[in-house]
Point group: C2
Chain length 280, copies 2
Amino acid sequence: MSDVATSAQPPRDFEALRTAILERRQDLPKRLTQVAAYALDNPDEIAFGTAASIAMSANVQPSTLVRFAQHFGFDGFSGLQLLFRTRLRERNSSYEDRLRQLEQGGAALTESASLLHGFIGAAHRSLDTIAGAVEAERFERAVSILAGAETIYLIAKRRSYPISSYMAYAFGKLKVRFQLVGTSAGIDDDMLAMATPQDAAFAISFSPYASESARQARIMAARDVPVVSLTDSAFSPLAECSREWFEVVEADHAGFRSLSASMALAMALTVAIAETRRRK
Amino acid sequence: MSDVATSAQPPRDFEALRTAILERRQDLPKRLTQVAAYALDNPDEIAFGTAASIAMSANVQPSTLVRFAQHFGFDGFSGLQLLFRTRLRERNSSYEDRLRQLEQGGAALTESASLLHGFIGAAHRSLDTIAGAVEAERFERAVSILAGAETIYLIAKRRSYPISSYMAYAFGKLKVRFQLVGTSAGIDDDMLAMATPQDAAFAISFSPYASESARQARIMAARDVPVVSLTDSAFSPLAECSREWFEVVEADHAGFRSLSASMALAMALTVAIAETRRRK
DNA sequence: ATCGATCTGGAATATTTGTTCCACGTTGAC
DNA sequence: GTCAACGTGGAACAAATATTCCAGATCGAT
């Protein structure tokens, strides 16, 4: 009586459904495969649409949707749709909303925990900002400048230093020649003196700008070494002496600015440079 | 004939509706005020629910919802609901979805741009993971261990080093005594030899673990210096010699793991430690 | 090629859901 | 206190939406 092809119990949450679909995708009939693909590609559509509208844009019959749902153990299409909706509800909430949910759920957040969540929130916001702020062309130009360099000089102090030290680590693994400027005291200027126009510099500095970084970037620029920089304002001293520069404004929490956006940009730059070189 | 109380044309998007509601909230009849409050407080409910279910949880009649919608120029409840839904769609979209929107919107993403977005996505995911993964009690214990230390020894190599270098920067600004272990070659062990049980160590290491970091953490532990660590697995060599440890699994893109979650945790720890000390 | 099993499309049906309508309350002006 | 205007609840209605059903198509095994 019971159909063996249909799982007895429906997946409890969206992730479970997703894996179930992926697992059984192979041995699903043609139209159901079609629905499966559509569902995973357009989850929002399924959450909001009506059976009829979804069926139309997935090029199937409404009944096929019902069959699809039943194949995965639901009563009907509505049961399946519910999963897509609750997923949306949970996902949707902004970081602040999610925090509020956390607070309501468990005991009230301790001060420390709210600190952590504050920094996480700031990082999220930073990342959101940068996603739209970096133009692809600009990025490409920066990559091509740096990929063409024999040696890349990394200039960063204080708060920016962790970023350059990450780049140094990654460049090392990717076999890209670099010099980390500013680690050991004193020899920086000697190091910079070796740079030629065939090299390039990547300078990072955020307000309040370390005067040392700006000075070093200017030295490089004066010697015709192309400079690419990452800073937080068009009025930054770095902007004026750079062939190409990125403006990244990090969100802050408790007076401490995030580094996430800068870090993501730095990682992307690093990998893109290595990738470009590998091709040549 | 035409009712002056209802605006002729309905708000075009959610924000417009929101302001409209806020503006007219004062001179709205009792039940409609009730709906207005409910709508702004539970936008998700309105987006997903049916008129009946919403009416019930807002303690009004379904017809009131319709009247409410009509007061703001909509044909009926459905028109109003649409605004709540599209808002959700736009807000909700996951990072991947947003990327897809970006792709569709502008020209196709260049390879470099998609790299950047990939890293941004990985960072977002990492942050999402850590938000739920760090228990408040554990965090508190770690803070109290480190806040009680005279000097905090920061142990990190390679990929973890940017994190410790950020902490070093922040500790410096916050006037917390620390020693960054692992910068200059050779003298590390001598530095560690000066540590006493009144100090503490914070070690960071991710797979593949730098054997040096593990060794140094063990040395500290053997000398009864409390060790707090940040690592990515319960089987990490750091876990076994730590008084307290955090497991943070970073998402990756193109084989490069994010640092955002670790960085956020590190920042929170740092500030919490300074804050705790300030109180004493 | 034939048969059986399974899949598919589309119309018919049942259910849910939004909307309308009207009698009853409530409020405020005179 | 009366009246008019407006607000409210709830039931009746209409529209939409999901589901069921079945005849015909498709596919695979023999």
